[in-house]
Amino acid sequence: MKPGVVLAAGLGMTVLAATTPAGLGGAPVPGRSWLVWLLAFAAGAHGFRSGGSTLAQVARRVAWLLPFVLTLALPAALLAASGSRATAALALVTRSLAATVAAAGTAFRLGPLGLLRAVRALGAPERLALVLEAALVGLWSMVERVRAMLRARSARRAKDGAWDLLLREPSATLRGFGRFGAALLLRTLEHAEAQERARVARGADLA
């Protein structure tokens, strides 16, 4: 299936799941909402499976969101009409997770290259697509670079962590972070300059 179609379908499912009524404002949760969310979970799970992921991995990908989702959902549910608070809480959490899984599964199935192609196919401005492409290309080496720099920092320090607690030693911590961040930024910009030269050498300004 063409990437543009996959993305459009996946995002459509996400939007539907995210905006289906969840029992706010005193209204009960309609039966169809649960059906929509079930479909969204299924669509997302299918996307993950076709990308080679197990259900346990899927669960891990969204589990970290749970505390945050609960923080947003529980107060909202508490303010719902009494008698339906538990249902409202469950509905809100389900709605959020279902929509997230649908979107995540779509993105996982497409992968970075598929996402890029899909975004272009759906008519995104070329400049935006080029920046997105460069960001995706740079992402992996960037994360590696950060990990390596953090490891080097930890290795040099006597204490456990790479940073002192900000509140205990604000000046030293900030200065360390500033140097780290600036060094990383400079290396990133220099690297980008070299890559731009390579692009020009291969004909970037011919296009």
Binding site: L113, E133, V137, H191, A194, A201, G203, A204, L206
Partner: protein, 256 residues
């Protein structure tokens, strides 16, 4: 624009960086179509700078307003000397067309991998030239096969080994079917087998080659003729065997 190997001619090329550091001083040489030329010299000799000029990536800099000393007034000066490919002089009018004839492989693979997958990266050049899709696909396939990475199209570059990444960069340049191929330290970081395979690969190419390297043995095997550059000056130009046999020359210019 002809395809096939390109003839190269460089006359009195001089260049200094905006901070005033002179990188090249009146360099003159020529390479016939299909010739393989070695470029030897110690670090800082100006080899990389020369390659950047031949690739058409540097000449514009000198025309910018710049100053060598923060206190001095800004000035600009014309490019000194000239580079000609197939008899056409490199200037702002011809630079884009000529760049399309030249492929350059930089020393560090990380500096030149620009695609999300191996296939995307190699296809960058052909796509930039707006070749029809079947031709793009064919050139990618041929280039990957030439460097021994056939079938790698869907792989992620950051999953490749160091040697494989170097070959990917070479494939990216080859896919553009260059008449002139420039290589900056192509063997650095390669094991003996990698060096041998690279030498065989380059030996099979029809393009004109300029290979900048410290690796005397590699250059001796691949390139019948070589130049020696030191502190921006061309100090020797002759048969590679003879240059390498001249221990005094090598010692004088930091090559032995």
């Amino acid at each position: 624009m002809s395809s096939g190997p390109a003839a190269l001619s460089v006359h009195a090329l001089a260049y200094h960086y905006p901070d005033g550091h002179a990188a090249l001083r009146s360099v003159t040489f020529a390479a016939a179509a299909g010739e393989r030329l070695g470029l030897l010299g110690p670090n800082g000799a100006g080899k990389s700078t020369l390659l950047l000029h031949l690739a058409g990536l540097l000449p514009e800099r000198q025309r910018y307003l710049h100053r060598h000393d923060p206190a001095a007034p800004a000035h600009r000066h014309d490019v000194q000397g000239r580079v000609a490919i197939d008899g056409v002089v490199l200037d702002p009018g011809s630079i884009r067309t000529l760049r399309a004839r030249v492929g350059i492989v930089f020393e560090d693979p990380e500096d030149q991998i620009v695609g999300l997958t191996v296939g995307e990266d190699v296809a960058y050049g052909p796509r930039a030239r707006r070749w029809p899709l079947p031709e793009v696909e064919a050139s990618v396939r041929d280039a990957l096969a030439a460097v021994g990475l056939a079938g790698f199209e869907e792989r992620f570059p950051h999953h490749l080994s160091r040697g494989e990444r170097r070959r990917l960069c070479l494939a990216g340049a080859l896919a553009c079917r260059p008449g002139l191929l420039l290589l900056d330290e192509p063997t650095s970081g390669l094991d003996p087998r990698g060096r041998r395979e690279l030498g065989e690969l380059l030996g099979r190419l029809a393009a004109t080659l300029v290979v900048a390297s410290h690796d005397l043995a590699f250059v001796a095997e691949l390139c019948p003729r070589a130049l020696v550059l030191d502190k921006g000056e061309l100090v020797a130009n002759g048969a590679t065997d003879e240059l390498i046999a001249d221990r005094e020359l090598l010692a004088r210019h930091g090559l032995a």
